[in-house]
């Protein structure tokens, strides 16, 4: 993978030097006026000597226009991911891997414990100051390492229990050293609007809010407000390296953005990006999808990625002509919505025995009528599938990877209540007292409790159907709702039997590997927090899984994959790990997944790619689709 990335990096370099080196650059008319008036330096001086060249999706665009969209109260995730995902690297538009972004190139040592990275020279903050490694070092030294700043190290910066160390080689070169191999550091540190996107802070600006540099500042509130992505919008004076910068923010109502005159990317003809002049985000509260639906059919949205409800698709499509827009079906990027985390560390030993029994798990899986769930909750547009990673994941790109993917995604998903019944019969889970529900092998009553978080109607609907399906094969099933705290406590106490996790996650080793192998003591850990905790602490805390169980093997397989230093090795190890999920599966049960995620796009709003994975913020859509090259076709 690294080799491939390097190759891409070199390719882009080569491209930029041959095609563009001699070229002069173009800029938006509004900026040209400012240059003429002497308010801005000429575009050549604002751009890096070798700006990053963005290949437009359809065609070279034209300048102008205001992009209208709607976003949710407070979080403003969509806004954030449109204007602020500029990390070290950037996902490819189809999420198949990463491409250089702020980093121009990088070199790893052989055992993946050291990486030397080269910042793109000449990137400027939106106030014209140059971006250097000092900006990153400020985050690390003055914020993360500073005890007075309430900020913990980001994931991937602590390896083997030790903090990474940084060495500044020159203004644009930085060396990272880790205590153990950390081959995926740059990728992991480039996910979403957080990680390096958030860590690259303008030192020259931030210093004035740091108690260490400004004796008038007594606490870190002002500093942290500027650091936290959700509160950054309050400060239009804070420089950014994103394509647009905030001009006006009225909380709960409106956020407006205008182009960053120092944006460091150009299109293939040397036009400085972004094409679109302004962004206008209306901030909605209450039932946001309703407002999105109405605004969409009224043609008042230029491009809307999030909060478009699947159930509204027929309504939106039927009004597409009148509203002069089209609908592009992106992917929600979920492998299951929800997936059912079976817990293998239970206070109830009898139930734990059953969980460890493969026939029991298979019976639970084949008893689910996934097609019905699909029809009822997703208009039949999702894919019934087992809990398995997404087909876009890198390890599935080889032929054997694809074969394994097909096998995994389709394992134990055929709806077959009779098979479920016979599987249950075979392990002694039969109805002995004639009440219509099966008892445990020892004759005591069996009741499964499926827990989830409140406020997710889609999951609630799914679980109601699931409950009917399981009851139909004689397994008494109850549904339960828990808040985050209650869930955490109950999980640690071994009182959560099955948890329906409602959100999407990344895949493979990036994002959240703990959803498929027990490695961390966190809420979304498969098998339960205690088992994850056991491995996370090296056995000091938590509860080990049963000896010789598939959980042990999964963890071992994960360790092999994570310490692999080449992509081939890593992919092979991952496939071997996933094989356990098939052979001993299902270990965590999937329902339906890969929901389409409708994107409403105005007809003259161009350059929007046909693919995108929306749900997990890790993937940073629509930022990953390069919104700076979206444009309004003015004809």
């Amino acid at each position: 993978m690294m080799k491939r990335l390097l190759l891409i990096a070199l390719l882009v370099l080569a491209l930029s030097s041959t095609v563009i080196a001699q070229q002069t650059y173009n800029e938006a008319p509004a900026l040209a006026e400012k240059v003429a008036a002497g308010e801005l330096p000429p575009v050549e001086e604002r751009l890096p000597p070798e700006p990053l060249v963005i290949e437009p999706v359809e065609q070279v665009g034209e300048y102008g226009g205001t992009w209208r969209m709607l976003d949710q109260n407070n979080e403003l995730g969509f806004t954030l991911m449109t204007t602020g995902v500029e990390g070290f690297l950037k996902w490819n538009r189809d999420a198949s891997g990463f491409r250089p972004n702020v980093l121009e190139s990088w070199e790893w040592n052989d055992d993946a414990t050291e990486v030397t990275v080269h910042f793109r020279e000449g990137i400027r903050w939106s106030d014209g100051e140059p971006l250097t490694v000092d900006d990153y070092l400020f985050w690390w030294n003055d914020m993360v390492l500073d005890e007075t700043v309430p900020l913990d190290p980001a994931s991937g910066t602590v390896v083997g229990g030790e903090l990474m160390t940084l060495e500044k080689i020159d203004d644009y070169t930085l060396k990272f050293t880790f205590a153990a191999p950390n081959p995926l550091f740059l990728e992991a540190h480039s996910r979403g609007p957080w990680n390096s996107s958030q860590s690259l802070v303008p030192e020259h600006y931030m210093r004035q809010f740091h108690p260490r540099y400004n004796s008038e500042v007594t606490d870190t509130t002002e500093l942290m407000n500027r650091y936290n992505t959700s509160t950054r919008l309050h400060y239009p004076d804070m420089p950014t390296i994103g394509p647009w910068m905030v001009t006006n923010y009225v909380p709960d109502q409106l956020a407006t953005f205008t182009r960053n005159p120092y944006y460091w990317k150009v299109d293939t003809e040397g036009n400085q990006l972004p094409y679109i002049d302004n962004i206008q985000v209306e901030i909605a509260s209450g039932p946001v999808p309703e407002q999105v639906a109405l605004k969409a059919i009224a043609g008042e949205l230029d491009m809307q990625v999030r909060d478009v409800a699947l159930q509204d698709v027929p309504l939106i499509l039927e009004n597409a002509e009148a509203g002069n827009y089209r609908v592009i079906m992106w992917d929600r990027g979920d492998f299951a919505w929800p997936w059912l985390m079976l817990m293998y560390d239970l206070a109830d030993d009898g139930l734990e025995d059953l969980m460890y029994t493969q026939e029991f798990r298979q019976a639970l899986s084949v008893a689910i009528n996934r097609d019905r769930i699909n029809e009822v909750t997703a208009l039949g547009l999702a894919t019934p599938r087992q809990f398995s990673m997404l087909p876009q994941a890198e390890e599935f790109q080889s032929p054997e990877g694809q074969a394994l993917y097909e096998e995994w995604a389709n394992s134990y998903i055929e709806y077959d209540p009779e098979q479920a019944a016979s599987l249950l019969d075979s392990i002694g889970v039969v109805d002995t007292d004639g009440d219509g529900f099966r008892e445990r092998p020892d004759g005591t009553p069996l009741e499964l409790v499926v827990t989830t978080f409140p406020d997710n109607p889609k999951v609630d609907q799914t679980l109601e159907l699931l409950q009917q399906d399981w009851q139909a094969v004689g397994i008494k099933t109850a549904l339960n709702l828990m808040t985050w705290d209650e869930y955490t406590t109950a999980n640690q106490a071994g009182e959560v039997q099955i948890f329906a996790w409602p959100s999407a996650a990344g895949w493979g080793l990036l994002s959240a590997p703990t959803v498929w192998a027990p490695i961390e003591g966190v809420q979304w850990s498969m098998a339960g927090m205690n088992i994850g905790q056991y491995y996370q602490t090296g056995g000091a805390e938590g509860v080990p899984p049963r000896e010789g169980s598939m959980l042990e093997r999964l963890q071992e397989a994960y360790s092999r994959a994570v310490s692999a230093t080449t992509a081939e090795e890593r992919n092979a190890a991952l496939l071997a790990a996933y094989r356990i999920h098939i052979d001993e599966g299902p270990i965590t049960i999937g329902t339906i997944g890969q929901h389409p995620s409708p994107v409403v796009v105005r007809n003259n709003f161009r350059n929007v790619p046909e693919t995108g994975l929306v749900a997990s913020w890790d993937l940073g859509y629509p930022g990953t689709a390069d919104p700076e090259q979206f444009f309004f076709d003015q004809e």
Binding site: P287, E290, A293, L294, I297, Q311, D312, V313, P314, L315, L317, E318, D371, R372, E375, V376, T377, L379, G380, L381, T451, P454, D455, D460, Q461, E464, L465, Q468, N480, L481, M482, T483, E486
Partner: protein
């Protein structure tokens, strides 16, 4: 307050006078006569009676299991009973057509087409899903239905493919009883405290009044939110039902107590109470034998007018996601399913439950109005 006291006096006096003149007609009968004159109130009363009966026999009236998901018939518009078939032939017994569903490939909208060859005549007293009446009688006989595989969705289906007609009646069970039960609790709290406060007076009255004032001055919404948030998410739905009822009752007893108190306040000075007191009646006897009966009619009126508020309160709680939860069904829950733009524009039949909510509330108001007028049979 003063005004009320005055009317109380007069009423008492007038009752005495009138009874001298025409002994044959009791007060109760007078009330009834007066009530009967108000046609709207009578219609409202009959309508409500029918609604409550229907709610009790919901399982009998509903042809389908209200929680049954018909995944092939998601969001289907009502395809009503037909007397005349596609060939123009008249059928004495109405029938429904079989329906074929398909998905419009351009808009992903489900479309339904009738199959003219398949006719399922309406049948009465058919066997179907099991249900209980009042939790006692278990049976599977339904008033009407059609033979499998025919489907009878009189009001269409919701977005999860459930029969709205059946859901309306099962929802009525919860929503109508929430109103009654809530008002009953309110009555118990409110009238006891109101009567005690009004009769005892003094410091006790003062404190109670301040507490009620505080309760009433407390904005309802936060109280709702807070009380509803106190109901644990993982309670079984029947317990949530009772909790919601109590929440609704807690929030409304204050007003009732206040009104009862002012009535008692007025009556306390009335001649017959004074007379009772002089004849050494105990406080208890005065309250139960004199004050309660005299205020009862007013209390009932107030209660009747409070029920619609409770029914609406339940829908509001559901809207905020704090009310009755599935698998229980309430009108609030049904309306929550309906609060979508797509419903208003594309699937208006999902709004059918709203008609029942509105009709019920109008009926309660008419009834309450009629009762109020009737409670004072000697007024103009």
């Amino acid at each position: 307050m003063e005004i009320l006291r005055k009317t109380g006096n007069q009423t008492g006096a007038r009752i005495a006078r009138k009874e001298d003149e025409a002994k044959v007609v009791s007060v109760r009968r007078l009330m009834w006569l007066r009530f009967k004159r108000n046609r709207l109130a009578v219609i409202g009363g009959i309508f409500l009676l029918l609604m409550y009966l229907a709610a009790i026999f919901a399982g009998f009236i509903a042809p389908n299991d209200p929680t049954m998901v018909h995944s092939q018939y998601v969001s289907m518009a009502p395809h009503g009973l037909n007397f005349v078939d596609t060939d123009g032939n008249f059928h004495l017994i109405p029938f429904v057509y079989g329906v074929k569903s398909a998905v419009d490939p351009a808009t992903f909208r489900k479309t339904f087409q009738i199959i003219p060859e398949e006719k399922y005549p309406l049948q009465f007293f058919v066997r179907g899903s099991e249900y209980t009446i009042l939790g006692i009688f278990r049976t599977d006989i339904h008033l009407f239905g059609v033979e499998e595989p025919g489907k009878l969705f009189l009001f269409g289906t919701d977005t999860q493919g459930r029969d709205i007609f059946s859901r309306v009646w099962f929802g009525a069970q919860v929503s109508l009883s929430v109103g009654l039960l809530g008002v009953f609790l309110t009555l118990v709290f409110g009238s006891i405290i109101g009567i005690a406060s009004g009769y005892i007076g003094g410091l006790f009255d003062d404190i109670i009044q301040r507490v009620i004032e505080l309760l009433m001055s407390f904005p309802q919404l936060p109280l709702w939110l807070a009380l509803a948030a106190l109901v644990p998410d993982n309670w079984p739905s029947d317990r949530i039902y009772f909790a919601i009822t109590i929440v609704l009752a807690i929030l409304s007893w204050g007003a009732l107590a206040r009104q009862t108190r002012s009535m008692v306040y007025a009556l306390r000075e009335a001649d017959f109470v004074t007379a009772a007191r002089y004849s050494n009646c105990s406080d208890w006897r005065i309250i139960t034998r004199h004050l309660l009966p005299n205020t009862m009619s007013h209390i009932i009126v107030i209660a009747t007018t409070a029920i619609p508020g409770m029914i609406l309160g339940e829908t509001a709680l559901s809207f905020l996601g704090l009310g009755i939860r599935s698998p229980l069904i309430s009108w609030g829950l049904l309306l929550t399913d309906a609060q979508h733009i797509r419903v208003l524009v594309q699937q208006p039949w999902i709004l059918t439950p709203a008609i029942f909510v509105i009709a019920t509330i109008i009926a309660f108001n008419f009834l309450g109005d009629g009762l109020r007028d009737a409670a004072d049979p000697f007024a103009k």
